[in-house]
């Protein structure tokens, strides 16, 4: 296993749940914290596609933003290419990171043209004009857009075309890691598969590594090499995609797979209960209120990550 591109060690990110100002400190009012990301350890190898699957409130987007250095952790570290990310060096670490966002209608500056948007990452590289336009040309064609699109404004583009422009912007500075935050969930089914195909092709040609964040398990299975399922701020299962999807070990992953309607089986089975509030989390394993195999130990202590064959599972069912 080569040196990982990015690694997180005991990563935590807590947000203040209420506005805390002068007033709160006077009354020493205990400020509740939202534990969005709570002690996450994962690695992304060069050229690998790691999928982060989870529902809303699982912390997958926050984790993605932490790794993309858009947020600084409350505790723990993000190590990018061997260097620990902190306030000072985050600016030049960002040279090797790019991101594609969920809402195609907000990821492109409405006033910019396709050319100005896509070439923005090269601004700091002080390349000659011809270099920039040649790169722009090649990148535009590799995302399947004719050169005629160069001077068009985002409002004249469809959802799918906009995401292609966003992908072009992400690959123009040939970064080492691209964080994809639900890139296709705002698109129609037919357009979604166009963009997914594009992402897979680019990965095979240019050997980026992707951190693919999604709630849609089917797309995760199609695009990723390894997958991590997240629940209430923690990774509950991490392993090769075929293994995790084929024979899921953690009860939540099993429930997740069974609750997704597909064209192969009509019957859908859903776990009981609701997603827990991230402010007052249940004791012990966070899934225990909804878990069919719950044991006493689950209600008291947190299982932490455990080895099971070549997977990591956070569940007391495994030693």
């Amino acid at each position: 296993m080569a040196e990982p591109i990015v690694e997180t060690r005991g990563l935590k990110k807590y947000f203040k749940a209420t506005k805390s100002g002068l007033l709160e400190s006077i009354f020493r009012r205990k400020i509740p914290y939202v534990k969005a990301v709570d002690n996450v350890n994962l690695t992304v190898a060069p050229g690998e596609v790691l999928a982060l699957v989870g529902e809303s409130g699982s912390g997958k987007t926050t984790l993605g933003r932490l790794i993309a250095t858009l947020e600084l952790p409350t505790d723990g570290q993000v190590v990018f290419d061997g260097k620990v990310v902190d306030k000072k060096n985050k600016k030049d670490i960002r040279k090797d990171i790019q991101m594609v966002f969920q809402n195609p209608y907000e990821s492109l500056d409405p006033r910019g043209t396709v050319r100005s948007i896509v070439t923005e990452p090269l601004m700091r590289r002080h390349l000659s004009r011809s270099d920039v336009s040649s790169r722009f040309g090649s990148v535009l064609s590799s995302v399947g857009l004719e050169s005629g699109f160069a001077e068009r404004h985002p409002r004249d583009l469809s959802g799918g075309q906009r995401q292609r422009v966003a992908v072009a912007r992400a690959i123009i500075s040939s970064p080492k890691l691209i964080v994809l935050d639900e890139p296709t969930s705002a698109l129609d089914a037919s357009v979604q598969s166009q963009v997914l195909n594009l992402l897979v092709e680019l990965r095979n040609q240019l050997d980026f590594s992707y951190l693919y964040i999604t709630h849609n398990i089917a797309t995760a299975r199609y695009i990723s090499d390894r997958v991590a399922t997240m629940y209430a701020g923690q990774i509950v299962e991490l392993g090769p995609t075929e293994k995790v999807m084929g024979s899921p070990k953690h009860p939540y992953t099993q429930a997740l797979l069974k609750s997704v309607p597909t064209l192969d089986n009509k019957e859908v089975a859903a776990p009981t209960g609701e997603v827990p509030s991230l402010v007052n989390l249940p004791e012990g394993c966070r899934y225990n209120p909804r878990c069919p195999y719950v044991m006493d130990v689950c209600r008291t202590t947190d299982p932490g990550m455990r080895k099971a064959e070549d997977e990591d599972v956070s569940c007391w069912l495994f030693k």
Binding site: E55, S56, S158, G159, G160, Q161, D188, A189, S190, V191, Q192, S193, Q194, L196, N197, V200, H215, I217, A218, T219, R221, Y222, T241, E242, M245, A255, L256, L257, K258, S259, V260, P261, T262, L263, D264, K266, E267, V268, A269, A270, P271, T272, G273, E274, V275
Partner: protein, 335 residues
């Protein structure tokens, strides 16, 4: 509560055309759509954004936006034409004949009123319509029972809560129970689970299937996700650019869809069960509803396009097994 078995369909839509006037000009959202739904049948309407599925849902209960207009066609709900209804007749139809639930849980309940008041409000109108005296305790009890019917944990507490104190899943359940209180013959659901998490969506889908069986209600389930449509309905209607391109029982449609668009839609969906090679995507991008393509509206993106497709719009053709399709591959070239 068995609904009487009568021959007239629960809903019968004939050649419905609805258009919106926008700053750019008139956009025809529905182009002579015809659709019949039998009593107790659960159908789903599937299509990409902008195909008019939500407009179709809203037009049945006359909740279209101010800038929308019924250009032509008829919508018969329980034998009466909805488009011609006025005042009292209209408010009687909404609730007793049909009930509609919507997509965005954050806005589905009145944020300034408690849940019990909003449920009683529904009961008060039904009792008035049925001429029964409204007794507060009795109504309160009935409302609470309905909450248990929709698998709501500790309904007494939920009754006294305000909508902002409930989760998305709980709000949708309250809205569904509100619908059940009205005992409608038809339930229209416009993407009710799209804004919910996968596990919560599964709970709501299971609930809807169950309620459809126990209350023998006909359900129209509108969604963009073909998997959800398959899981929740007996028959699927596929719409494209304001037209119904295919109507087929779910099993048949999934195994061998007739219309090229329906086939492409099914092939383009990544499966969770196995890893496949390239996904077959549909070329081009969704049509511009301001200047829709001539003839069959799918022809610019259709792999089997023929000359006639570019000129004439294919008429609906009845196929065996109760399927209806609008495509020249399956006939209709003579009329």
């Amino acid at each position: 509560m068995a609904t009487q078995q009568s021959t007239i369909p629960s809903v019968s839509i004939q050649d419905l055309t609805v258009s919106y006037s926008t700053v750019y000009g008139r956009v025809r959202a529905l182009n002579s759509v015809s659709l019949d739904i039998q009593r107790g049948e659960s159908i789903s309407i599937v299509g990409e954004s902008g195909c008019g599925k939500s407009t179709l849902g809203h037009s049945i209960v006359r909740l279209l936006a101010p800038n929308a207009k019924y250009d032509s066609g008829k919508i018969e709900l329980e034998g009466k034409d909805v488009i011609k209804m006025k005042g009292h007749e209209l408010s009687r139809m909404r609730g007793l004949d049909a009930f509609m639930i919507f997509q965005d849980p954050l806005n589905s309940l009145n944020p300034v009123k408690r849940v019990d008041i909003q449920l009683l409000e529904a009961l008060r109108t039904r009792y008035k319509m049925e001429g029964k005296p409204f007794v507060e305790e009795e109504a309160y009890k009935e409302a609470e029972d309905k909450l248990t019917d929709v698998r709501m944990p500790d309904p007494e507490k939920i009754m006294t809560r305000y909508p902002h104190q409930l989760s998305g899943g709980q709000i949708q359940r309250v809205v569904i129970s509100m619908g059940l209180l009205m005992r409608p013959k038809l339930l229209i659901a416009d993407e009710p689970t799209s804004a919910l998490d996968v596990t919560i969506q599964a709970q709501v889908l299971m609930l809807l299937r169950e309620l459809q069986r126990t209350y023998r209600m006909s359900i129209i389930f509108i969604t963009h996700d073909i998997n959800v449509a398959y899981a929740v309905s007996d028959r699927m209607i596929v719409m494209y650019a304001g037209e119904v391109v295919e109507s087929n029982p779910s099993e048949q449609l999934v195994r061998n869809a007739l219309h090229p668009y329906a086939q492409a839609l099914i092939k383009s969906v990544p499966r969770t069960t196995k890893k496949e090679g390239r996904l077959t995507a549909i070329a081009g991008s969704p049509p511009n509803m301001l200047h829709p393509p001539a003839g069959c509206r799918f022809h610019p993106r259709c792999p089997y396009v023929m000359d006639i497709c570019k000129v004439k719009s294919p008429p609906p053709v009845k196929m065996e097994g109760g399927a209806v399709v609008r495509c020249f591959l399956h006939g209709g070239t003579d009329s």
